[in-house]
Amino acid sequence: MSNNLYSANKRTKLQVTSVPMNALLESIGIRSGTRVRVQNRYAFGGPVLLRVEDAFSVALGKEIATQIGVLEI
């Protein structure tokens, strides 16, 4: 099912389906098709911590994470 990254379940394997226009996001390695997993989510509007392609960790602020579409795989 399709979802936004911010509200995705922790630990489930996800695939990114849509990303907002953001050059840094793209070059840091989060693009349509990238496989990610939510490692941690922080309360009170905090960011999500992602494991990207099981290779590195990136933290994304709420404003970006809510704009990223993901699919459970």
Binding site: A23, L24, S27, I28, F44, G45, L49, V58, A59, I64
Partner: protein, 574 residues
């Protein structure tokens, strides 16, 4: 002289290579964006001299921040060769940049760095296969341990002298299959190469990996972070105090000052000139008492502790953990890194914000650093002052600074137009500092501090000695009395702190050390100095990085708020 560029993703160890190759120390830490300006140095390859340029780390060549724009500028200007540093533990993403570099048709060697970290994560990469895929030399290294440095120079020499035509080496000419005519998808190609050259074995997470993960969990992460911050402050204060009270102050009071007093009183007749040299405010008294005893130990301790936090990868972790609070203040967690740097000195903190992606964020951070974050040498002077009175003032002044910080950030955020980009930060592996580069970093920073601060500090001290010992201070004090005494409730002589504070931040506190104050006066003095003008160097950097208008606005804002709020505290509490 021909240029060679060191290029790579942020935090892959470019600066370590730069230091090894040129002998010039470039700061390295464990987070993205330590190098925001380029550094250059000379080194020899095969008998010829080249200029090596340490280009700020970049994820792509699209110039999403000022630091990345620097990388693009250098490539467009051309170079004899590029040394592209790749992080072996995160090869696919690093390869995207490597492939993107090719369109510049500059001979390139690739360095596969951090192979030790990759191995711990269960990733083994074949340098030979990678070289075949990239059609260019690949050297496998662990830079902080100096492995593979000779091979880097040998290969570099080879590509510098390789024939430039129809070679089949993609990186060396414009028209190969993966080269300048590249229409293929860089990302897909990076994935394909990565799959071919790397092998996954079982990851073997050590203690650091587990601790690193644990620190990122909201619980217990936040508590670990708070503990580390409080413990760090305690270490700086305790050992700084120990050095000051236990070692330096006794040496200054019992040996250095009496020594100079003996010489000068024997050689010079009594009078103003002698007093300027060795009187109560004499140059040879206060320069040692203030700089050597009251300030130096804290600055040293700060750089020891802060350097450790930088090299382990602690700073990006707290950016993530406290992003929610920073968001409420209109900033984002990443700004915390610059603010922490500001506790050392505002100048590198303001320059560091070049890695930030929005101008608004840069200015708000600069304002917060100027108003509410004392630099370490000022903090040292503040601790020296507070410890003369009462320890309750320590938490009180921290609370005051915190309230000030929140207020300034909120106000600046309201007035400056634009947006602050949300948090987007890579969280690096937790690492133990490499003793050699850690030691060199502390040494370089102390040298830099002494070098930068020496002249203005001595100038301030000379001015203090002349004003105090010539009697001019008493005249000025009469005019300043309505503000200094009536409004702020400080002794008249405290006006000297306000005068010297223009030159250097710590000098707005140091003169108070010699005065007999009440507890309230000490607190008001500390609060005023905290808010008071950032020093001349900060003014210069604000003007250079932003514009004069902003530098002036921050300067007037700080003076006005220092006097206003300091006075209000005095009037309410007296």
């Amino acid at each position: 002289m021909k240029r060679i560029l060191l290029i790579g993703n942020p935090n892959v160890g470019k600066s370590v290579f730069f230091t090894e190759l040129t002998g010039i120390h470039a700061m390295s830490s464990n987070y993205a964006g330590t190098t925001v300006d380029y550094m250059e140095g000379h080194f020899a390859v095969g008998g010829a001299e080249y200029t090596l340029i340490d280009v700020p780390g970049t994820y792509s060549l699209e110039a999403t921040s000022e630091a990345e724009a620097v990388a693009a500028k250098f490539l467009n200007a051309g170079a004899a060769a590029v040394i592209c540093v790749l992080d072996a533990s995160n090869l696919e993403r690093n390869l995207c940049l490597a492939l993107e570099l090719r369109k510049f048709s500059i001979p390139t060697i690739y360095i596969l760095n951090l192979t030790d970290v990759a191995e711990r994560k269960g990733i083994i990469i074949s340098a030979a296969l990678l070289a075949k895929e990239l059609d260019a030399p690949v050297v496998s290294t662990v830079a902080v341990k100096k492995q593979g440095m000779d091979e880097v120079l040998t290969k570099l020499n080879e590509i510098l002298h390789a024939p430039k035509d129809g070679c089949g080496k993609c990186a060396n000419c414009a028209n190969c299959s993966y080269g300048g005519n590249e229409n293929c998808d860089i990302y897909a190609r990076a994935k394909e190469i990565n799959n071919r050259v790397s092998k996954k074995t079982g990851a073997n997470p050590g203690f650091l990996e587990k601790l690193g993960d644990c620190m990122m969990k909201p619980f217990p992460g936040i508590f670990i972070a708070l503990f580390v911050v409080i413990f760090s402050i305690a270490v700086v204060v305790f050992f700084g105090e120990l050095m000051r009270e236990g070692v330096l102050m006794p040496i200054v009071e019992n040996f250095i000052v009496p020594f100079f007093r003996l010489i000068f009183t024997a050689a010079l007749p009594e009078g103003m000139f002698l007093n300027i040299l060795i009187g109560e405010y004499g140059v040879f008294v206060i320069s040692f008492e203030w700089i050597l005893a009251a300030i130096f130990p804290y600055v040293l301790m700060f750089y020891i502790v802060f350097g450790f936090l930088e090299d382990t990868g602690f700073l990006p972790r707290i950016s993530v953990l406290f992003d929610n609070i920073m968001r409420k203040l209109g900033l984002q967690g990443g700004s915390l890194i610059y603010m922490m740097m500001g506790f050392g000195c505002a100048v590198p903190a303001i320059i560091g914000t070049r890695a930030a992606t929005s101008r608004k964020e840069r200015i708000v951070v600069a304002a917060a650093v100027c108003f509410a974050i004392p630099c370490m040498s000022q903090t040292g002077a503040l601790i020296s002052l507070i410890s003369l009175y009462s320890w309750w003032m320590f938490p009180a002044i921290i609370l005051f600074a915190f309230i000030l910080f929140v207020t300034v950030t909120l106000i600046a955020g309201k007035f400056i137009r634009g947006n602050v980009a949300p948090l987007l930060i890579e969280v690096p592996n937790l690492l133990l500092p490499n003793p050699k580069s850690y030691g060199r970093k502390i040494f370089t920073r102390m040298k830099h501090f002494l070098h930068e601060a020496e002249v203005p500090m001595l100038l301030a001290i000379l001015l203090a000695a002349i004003l105090a010992e010539s009697g001019a201070l008493n005249v000025i004090a009469v005019y300043a009395q309505p503000i200094v005494s009536n409004w702020l409730g400080l002794p008249e002589q405290a006006v000297i702190a306000l005068i010297l504070g223009i030159i250097r931040r710590e000098m707005s506190v140091a003169p108070l050390l010699a005065l007999e104050l009440t507890h309230l006066q000490a607190f008001v003095g500390a609060a005023v100095s905290l808010m008071y003008l950032p020093c001349i160097s900060v003014f210069a950097i604000l003007t250079r990085e932003f514009k004069l208008k902003i530098a002036l606005a921050i300067s007037f804002g700080t003076i006005a708020s220092a006097i206003l709020i300091g006075g209000v505290i005095n009037q309410i509490c007296k």
